[in-house]
Symmetry: C2
Subunit: 143 residues, 2 copies
DNA sequence: GTTCCCCTACTCGGATACACTTTGTCCGAGTATGATCGG
DNA sequence: CCGATCATACTCGGACAAAGTGTATCCGAGTAGGGGAAC
């Protein structure tokens, strides 16, 4: 299970927007500073998230991004698939003899099942889980 | 769940050796022909499998490779991890503020769980499962 | 005070360049078998 | 007939080149709000 860097940034960006929804919008620059990445990179991530309706974008001079959904409704699967595309099984095409078709089918079934388990796991975790962990972090060992 | 091309080749190579164990060794060239790949590529795969003791190699003029284990004992996980390395969770290192540590931990837990499920799935399937599917395909009742 | 226009700050979206991983290829070296040759 | 020598066919293992994929950066364009000038 390899989480792409961009997906990880996207998840943290959504969590950041969700934790900072004071009604106002947040600019890409602020998100970039929070994640310690370039503004352009954050911009691209936020654009894709907005295209998939996971966050709202506002154009113009006082524009920015905003998280308007309920944290319970947005899952990690939605975020990851918005960035990296569908989490599907991939068995490479192999140009081999016909009697290998059955064995390749077995591999496909195994990978399909594994991919489904990944999807299930990513769907069980929502943005609110991230927000909650944040509270635990702040309230726990500091003092 | 993305199965690398080399891993797929390795699985099919082991299945080929397992289905052809007449007592004699099989040369890398034969495996390459069976998989429709270059001899060098097959050679490299077989070498790695032999290093991990999944198959036996025999040096010298009448050398080659042989599958001596029981098909029930060798799992797909062993083959895939021999080729691609450990199937572990990977959450990219992110240089962000400290208050993001908790959220990153959540991501790590999720990915760890997903990776464990992948391992479980790959471990449940053995070489004998591939051989059985082959019989179903070719209708060759020999076991 | 109202209207019009321009300037500014932001998002949008494609294009491009870069880095990393995977994949494919090559070559020298080691090893065991069989054939050959000399005693 | 027997043993030493050589040729052959294979594996071994590292190194390298090519391809593919993910990542970072750049640039022009569009959009909305604010400020200033003219009336």
């Amino acid at each position: 299970m390899k989480l792409s860097k961009t997906s990880a940034h996207a998840v943290l960006a959504v969590a950041y927007l969700a934790s900072s929804k004071d009604g106002g919008v947040i600019q890409a620059r602020q998100v970039a500073d929070h994640l310690n990445i370039q503004t352009d990179s954050a911009l691209k991530i936020l654009q894709v998230l907005a295209q998939h309706k996971l966050i709202d974008s506002r154009l113009g001079r006082s524009g920015g991004y905003r998280f308007t959904k309920s944290p319970d409704e947005v899952t990690l699967l939605q975020i990851v698939e918005a960035i990296d595309g569908p989490v599907a099984s991939e068995v490479p095409a192999i140009n081999a003899a016909d009697n290998l078709a059955g064995r390749l089918d077995v591999l496909r079934v195994v990978c399909d099942h594994a991919a489904q388990q990944i999807r299930d796991r990513l769907q069980k975790t929502t943005v609110s889980d991230l927000l909650f962990s944040d509270q635990m972090q702040v309230l726990n060992p500091s003092r």
